[in-house]
Symmetry: C2
Subunit: 256 residues, 2 copies
């Protein structure tokens, strides 16, 4: 684990009832969630949690660190889950060394199946870490940027999963048992990608410094999205829906 943001001596202390742990990948959705959390209570202490798990899109983490600083989080931690990659390799195309290809085009999701980019039990594990940190800090909110677009394919992005985890969290912890209800906040869950982008632009999100692509590369100007994977196509369509210019640098034009 590396701490990329020094604790801010001027920030409120732990146990603040407005405080929250927020899962931050450095992607479009989690960065929007962070902007919403900050806008809701400008003075609240926020703790951002990212994961390195052998995923192909590690470039996201550099974006996460910059977004954490931009939205003045109290502390940003990156947890290394390389062992998760070793335990689950072969079960997700997003993990390094996987024999599965990242899907290009929307055909996988169109069939209503769970996409091959699904990582086993990922959000359960991420939320469990967030819960451990929240409990140690005596904070009562966990924020996660799951949304309705993911909902179509990933089981652990559905509202019923979130409600079940919240129930588990309240039964699992000292905070829950002592009656200080823990909440899992999912402001994006029912929004379209266009609505997410509009909400973020209203709160000064710099989407040029977020990565959505499943297979990004990098040049001397920064991250370069492939322009072809599912996630790039969703992102492009989202900016079109929002009627906003897309600041992403794509390696391939639409439709290629």
């Amino acid at each position: 684990m590396t701490s990329t943001t020094a604790p801010r001596p001027d920030a409120p202390g732990d146990g603040d009832p407005r405080g929250a742990v927020i899962l931050l990948s450095g992607g479009l959705d989690s960065t929007t969630a962070l902007a919403l959390a900050r806008a809701e209570h400008p003075g609240r202490p926020l703790y951002a949690l990212s994961f390195r798990y052998g995923q192909r899109h590690a470039l996201e983490l550099a974006c996460a660190a910059r977004q954490a600083a931009r939205f003045a989080v109290q502390q940003h931690e990156v947890i290394d889950l390389e062992h998760l990659g070793r335990l689950t390799r072969g079960a997700s195309a997003l993990l390094e060394g996987s024999p599965l290809d990242v899907p290009m085009g929307r055909d996988v999701e169109a069939a209503g199946d769970i996409p091959v980019t699904y990582v086993p039990a990922r959000n359960t594990l991420f939320l469990a870490y967030a819960l451990a940190w929240a409990e140690a800090l005596e904070l009562r909110e966990l924020w996660i940027g799951v949304n309705a677009v993911d909902y179509s394919g990933y089981p652990d992005c559905r509202p019923e999963f979130i409600r079940a985890f919240e129930q588990t969290a309240n039964l699992a912890t000292r905070l829950g048992v002592t009656g200080q209800r823990i909440r899992v906040r999912t402001p994006l869950i029912s929004w379209t990608k266009g609505q997410i982008i509009q909400a973020g632009l209203e709160r000064d999100v710099d989407y040029g410094d977020t990565v959505s692509c499943y297979a990004p590369t990098e040049d001397d100007r920064g991250p370069l999205a492939c322009g072809r994977c599912d996630s790039c196509q969703l992102r492009r369509a989202g900016f079109a829906e929002a009627g906003a210019p897309d600041p992403t640098r794509y390696a391939a034009a639409p439709g290629l």
Copy 2:
């Protein structure tokens, strides 16, 4: 993560409906759960999962490796959670560097409070890892040796927590969504320590090679329990209740 048991070429393959991931600390309870899982289906594939998280009782892990081999698990993995210790230090007396003392005597639990040895969100996190591994292996059972004695103090050892996690697991995963129900098995949950020990002795558990003590030391004959902490006292009382000789080597006599 280190793999301490080589995959067994003669064992059944993944996806076996009798297969299970079992949480194994090397303590009395989890070793008994392992013996029960093995006895239920002698040919089933079992995958044992242990954690190193800066706890003071790391001697347990050597016991876990030997017990995994003894009960012929397919694979034993040890996941390093040192970052959990860093995130939550100060919140549990069981983590190295904690300012809290390990409690001696039963006074903490007698008050009905949550013991200071509670680790934030520990079982949620352990079960989340077990779930990720089970899903990657297409296994449908998670075993955890929580029991009625822990129940008195730790929120994440209660039956209602286990049921909530099981519900979450079935909503979180591809297996659950496709109708292959995931079960969290807790055979010890309503047993006394004496009943646990009796069940284990009937299934050839070598309790001399398990560690319960919160602050064990070691000499050239192996682990040495303190004989004074809560856990040593519960263990001693359990063997007395079972009417069985206690093979544990204690540094201090009862009542000291």
